[in-house]
Symmetry: C2
Subunit: 464 residues, 2 copies
């Protein structure tokens, strides 16, 4: 439905777009476009978009891009809006191109691949694969409400990545619509293909700045063995960090997660499952290795004990283990009950983990803010969650300072400002500090080569 | 040593280069540069280079590129010269930049990473990792004589890739010298990092066309379990192909290799290990999974039997299994005894494998040439080897026609012209047929953005 009064649809360009998309819903009135202005990062600088296009087919995306190029109008691609770095914040006078209605899916058991459209949820892809005994590994904690298109656009991670890798490791092919509206196919259901530059891997994680991905060919694996879960409780974050480092060095756990006291308490408020509110840290680890000696579980228990766990045990069964994994997965929503969050995603090499943890504790104390600390500890990717009352302007200032200081700390430790969420708009100011002027310049050149007019998601990764 | 007479070193530019590299060996006389003119592909169109620079440090590579940019002179980077697509063929009036003397290596057990310089052999990296109980998986059959820098430049594969992935899956960071001489670091010892465009993955497999990689941070894994090896003999290639497809669909073997009758005979000539000369195909498969039921081995044997193997068995022990893996690894040198080879590297989705095999048999018959057929069958990556007597001009013509027809066939089957060797110079004419004009155009734009003067390995991937 087009509200002509509110949007000034009399202007030729938008009418032209609507005419070019006769069967597509194009939202233009402020009430309809409101839910499409921001993602889960709650970027406070979002604009009101000119229109939201609910594309259903690749041709629709092509029509939008041809029109946008002809008129020099920015386009922000949007999956499920679950992004945590403001990569889908609407920009002034721009189009939000939602892929939520592009939900095609087919699975080929003989090549063990899935061909999916971007609007499916990650969990839907997993479920469809599981129905035929196959497995799509990447598992962001938000699997139920994040889209596979967004996963590819951000090269999303998750809990199993410590052993099974991230999204890019499972993308065999894509169809992508370029800035000028051409649709290009790259890769396909081949496990090895080195014909030409690896444009495939370049598009993965490009956050909609180089093109809009309209179809994805995913590699699937046979279903994994049921995991064994080991739990360790610690009365100091340093001890927990040391145990994590030892496990990561010796074996390949299929999950190695960390929660601090704040997040333990928040999750216990939610689930009342008997988590220890007095603990400083909880480590939840898994093994799906089936060596006859069961040695991975033994190594994990041994590491917990030697680093002073106050308690550690293997869970009774798969279901009991799943309760602890679930506790970790709902940590962000649980901590959100304490206030609005500035969500971090910093990562360091494993041996630097204890220094990152203690540094964040110091930053919290110095700025007088609460920072919950959860982590995909096994790959050094952490989520400090800065809790903030948005009505309290001084607290907002202190929280924002903490947010920047945590990224500065990660960079000082040789780490990254984002392990799996993406740079988006919120982390862009810190990007150059991490990668340096020269690499940013090279990246800019690639951006300009593919999007010379700068209409693809301006402000994300690169300054608008 | 500079032979001033032979090279015309009086010309200012080359003198300038030599002056800029006081401690570096720069070869200019034809005798010294001869071994650096071609790689293992035996490209017949190689030129005489202006000079060969034996760089020892990143600064040397930078000096070469600054000079090359200032003077518009092409630079061909060269690892160990084991490339099979002519990616290191010398170009007229250009520099060959050899990284063979850049051999630094350090391993960090706590982050389970290796930092290596490009001149080390793949096998040397593997051996250094193994010394501390770690494992670098990618294993080209040429591991003993291919450099890790070349592996990264071509995104090399190998036998274990069917389960453990290819080179790009293990590259966490690089230092790369750009066309203008700037050295840039990308990535580092972090398992997850999505800060900015994935320039890292773009440089991997770019065959020296975007920059020259001078240092690599590699991810290592804990040492794998000793594998169990299963062998199947077949009297038809179709039956063997069907068995491979079934195994690849049901489980994740750690190796799944194929040899045809020609290559079996050639290897038996070499090893006299008792291979069956009357067989049409040999499949060598491995499992390093340790499920208590040993089910992977049972599934492989079952697949062999159900698809009519004339004989199949699990080898007696690890050493016996290694004999069969070795037989497969030496297949290319063994077939080389029959004549010069035009080496193919085409790949298809597994279900198309039987059609690729029968198509190559047809091409061999129609052109009256011998084509041996070996394959990393489990990932659909095959190496038809066209045997040719270079003195027989008619046979050369028929062999070259076969070489092109095999790539055409792979493209018709939805496959790739190169799974792991790279496009180089020899496969460039077919690249556009596989990836299409639009994707080639996009790739060209990226190339021009990073190498505007076109001095980096001209003729490889992109027309000079």
């Amino acid at each position: 439905m087009v509200d002509q009064t509110a949007t000034g649809a009399a202007k030729p360009p938008l009418v032209e777009l609507i005419d070019a998309l006769p069967d597509v819903e194009v939202l233009t009135d402020p009430e309809s476009t409101e839910p499409y202005r921001r993602d889960r990062a709650n970027d406070r600088n979002v604009a009101v978009p000119l229109a939201v296009v609910l594309a259903e087919r690749t041709e629709h995306v092509q029509a939008v891009m041809r029109w946008a190029t002809a008129n020099g109008i920015p386009v922000v691609p949007r999956g499920a809006g679950s992004g945590l770095s403001g990569g889908a914040s609407a920009v002034q006078g721009g189009i939000v191109l939602s892929t939520e209605r592009m939900r095609g899916l087919s699975i080929d058991e003989t090549t063990r691949t899935a061909v999916v459209q971007p609007g499916l949820m990650n969990a839907e892809v997993k479920a469809a694969a599981a129905e035929v005994g196959l497995w799509y590994p990447p598992d962001p904690a938000s699997a139920e409400f994040c889209s596979i298109g967004g996963n590819v656009a951000t090269n999303a991670g998750g809990l199993c990545c410590v052993k099974y890798g991230v999204t890019t490791d499972y993308v065999l092919g894509i169809e992508v619509v370029l800035a000028d509206g051409r649709a290009v196919r790259i890769g396909g259901p081949r496990l090895k293909d080195v014909a030409g530059l690896s444009m495939l891997k370049l598009f993965v994680g490009s956050e909609g700045t180089l093109g809009i991905i309209t179809e994805i060919t995913l590699r699937l694996l046979p279903a994994p063995m049921a995991p064994r879960t080991v739990v360790g409780w610690f009365d100091s974050s340093a001890a927990a960090g040391a145990a994590v480092a030892e496990i990561a060095r010796r074996i390949r756990p299929s999950m190695l997660e960390y929660m601090d006291g704040v997040s333990i308490g928040a999750v216990e408020d939610e689930l009342a499952m008997g988590l220890r509110r007095d603990a400083a840290a909880l480590v939840v680890a898994r093994s799906d290795d089936r060596s006859p000696t069961g040695e991975e579980v033994a190594i994990m228990l041994d590491a917990f004990e030697r680093h002073g766990a106050t308690e550690c045990f293997e869970t009774a069964d798969v279901e009991d283990g799943e309760r602890y994994a679930h506790a970790r997965r709902i940590a962000i929503p649980a901590v959100e009950r304490l206030g609005s969050l500035l969500l971090e995603d910093v990562g360091v090499a494993i041996p630097e983990l204890p220094r990152l943890i203690s540094g964040v504790e110091r930053i919290a104390a110095e700025n007088d803010v609460t920072i919950a600390f959860i982590a995909h500890a096994g790959d050094g990717n952490t989520h400090p969650l800065v809790v903030v009352d948005l009505e309290d302007r001084d607290m907002v200032r202190r929280a924002e300072r903490s947010y920047g200081q945590i990224m500065d700390l990660a960079i000082d430790l040789g780490g990254t400002i984002t392990g799996e969420h993406g740079v988006g708009r919120l982390k862009r100011p810190w990007l150059v500090d991490q990668i340096g002027d020269d690499l940013l310049d090279v990246s800019h050149r690639v951006k300009r080569a593919l999007d010379p007019a700068g209409i693809l998601n301006p402000g994300t990764i690169f300054a608008a």
